[in-house]
Subunit: 259 residues, 2 copies
């Protein structure tokens, strides 16, 4: 595994210099598990922005105990940004990474109010994904089935209904905000894809697929040529297949964790 | 319950006008359950900023099925912002609310790099809190004990160690970034307070209290006169007691949810 030299955050270079450097990225390296998960949105924004970027080789459960010490929070994704003036900046936490990349590639709307709405939709979908992850994917085997039934009865319909309401408020044009693609649209489509990779995916998608408003968002995102090309790529398809395999039994993948 | 007139997001006023209005708030109303939970940080920033603000009367489980329809995502907290030009703006999702308030009151550092670090620490602590919430507080009764043991063996020490590392990188001065208080410090102290209100609080606090680096952050935050005054207030103490009572059995409080 190749973890770049920059580790954690930089407290030696003046932060004003790092701030200036962050605004002028030239290339990106993304470190994550070899699945979609929490890195799907970042990868899709990088594809949309036609950025120079690569997926770093993923750690394995065997090397992770050591590898994780080089990450800011002992978790992934981590984004490494190479800047015009030769700096390398480390960024962690998917919300922060998604916000930063969205800003670089014009996906936060036209002003602070639009940005606030876009980040709210992003946050709502991220919470929806992480709730499923914590209460179903990673829950104790004896609780999974009951928690999934609760998820289907509460979180899932609430997410669909509230997002349909906001899409209707924006005229049901297949965008969350205004008349153009934003982080909100890309993230929601990634979250839906994440659910389609779950062992419970068929049951979940049956409900999501009934939503015409969400289908329009998906249509608009997939109409973007760079995103369509990324999704059709062998690498993306490999990640999708790996996600499906991984979520069949995530606990086994990490069976050495926490020991 | 008094839910202000502004509901969801505003698609009729031009968003540029709303963006300008957002930057000139005059007063705030916060809608949340009558506990600390996900609103603790927002309340503390409002206190720190000496803002004109109030807690709206909380919904009850009996009225919530109807009340929630007036919130953007059928969840709390929601922040209502009254602006200089007479607008009322609705904001939801605690991450978005915390970021907005932190920006208004100068709690995001001196530049984009410091802001990125501050938001990463905020996000890491928020994820730590929500993981406990999903896997212990709200988990099925039969899984709580096992999930809590896993939390104690993995998430808890990881959070302490990684945050201690970042605090050491900043010179162990009791601030996450630079030499002054930020959203990161306030949020971490609120998250620690949240844990101290849990039925498992004693066991968790035994580990957290061993960290001198985190103790210094707590000291610095409590040294802020406006925060100290808020924490000493009858209202804050009432919220703390209510949090303790609530988390003893959160499922019972919402027993009508999802039916």
């Amino acid at each position: 595994m190749t973890i770049p030299n920059a580790k954690h955050f930089d407290h030696t270079t003046p932060s004003s210099e790092l701030a200036a450097a962050m605004a002028k990225p030239v290339s990106f390296k993304l470190l994550y598990w070899p699945i979609g998960g929490l890195a799907g949105t970042a990868r899709e924004i990088l594809a949309y922005g036609d950025a120079k970027w690569e997926n770093l080789p993923s750690p394995t459960p065997n090397t992770w105990q050591e590898d994780k010490l080089s990450t800011p929070f002992h978790c992934l994704p981590v984004l490494y940004i190479n800047t015009e003036d030769g700096k390398e900046i480390t960024m962690s936490e998917s919300v922060v990474v998604d916000h930063y990349l969205a800003k670089q590639f014009g996906l936060l709307g036209d002003n602070e109010y639009e940005e606030m709405m876009i980040k709210s939709f992003h946050c709502s979908s991220a919470t929806f994904q992480s709730r499923f992850s914590a209460t179903v994917s990673w829950n104790q085997p004896e609780s999974k089935a009951k928690s999934f039934q609760q998820f289907k009865a509460t979180s899932l319909p609430t997410w669909i209904q509230t997002h349909e309401k906001h899409l209707a408020d924006n005229g049901n044009n297949g965008y969350y905000v205004g008349n153009k693609i934003s982080l909100a649209d890309i993230h929601t489509v990634c979250v839906i894809e994440h659910f389609s990779c779950q062992p419970e995916g068929d049951e979940i998608m049956e409900l999501i697929n009934k939503s015409e408003a969400l289908a329009k968002v998906r249509e608009n995102v997939l109409k973007e040529p760079k995103i369509a090309a990324w999704k059709a790529s062998a690498k993306h398809q490999e990640l999708t297949e790996a996600s499906k395999a991984f979520f069949k039994d995530p606990l086994t993948f990490f069976k050495n964790e926490g020991k």
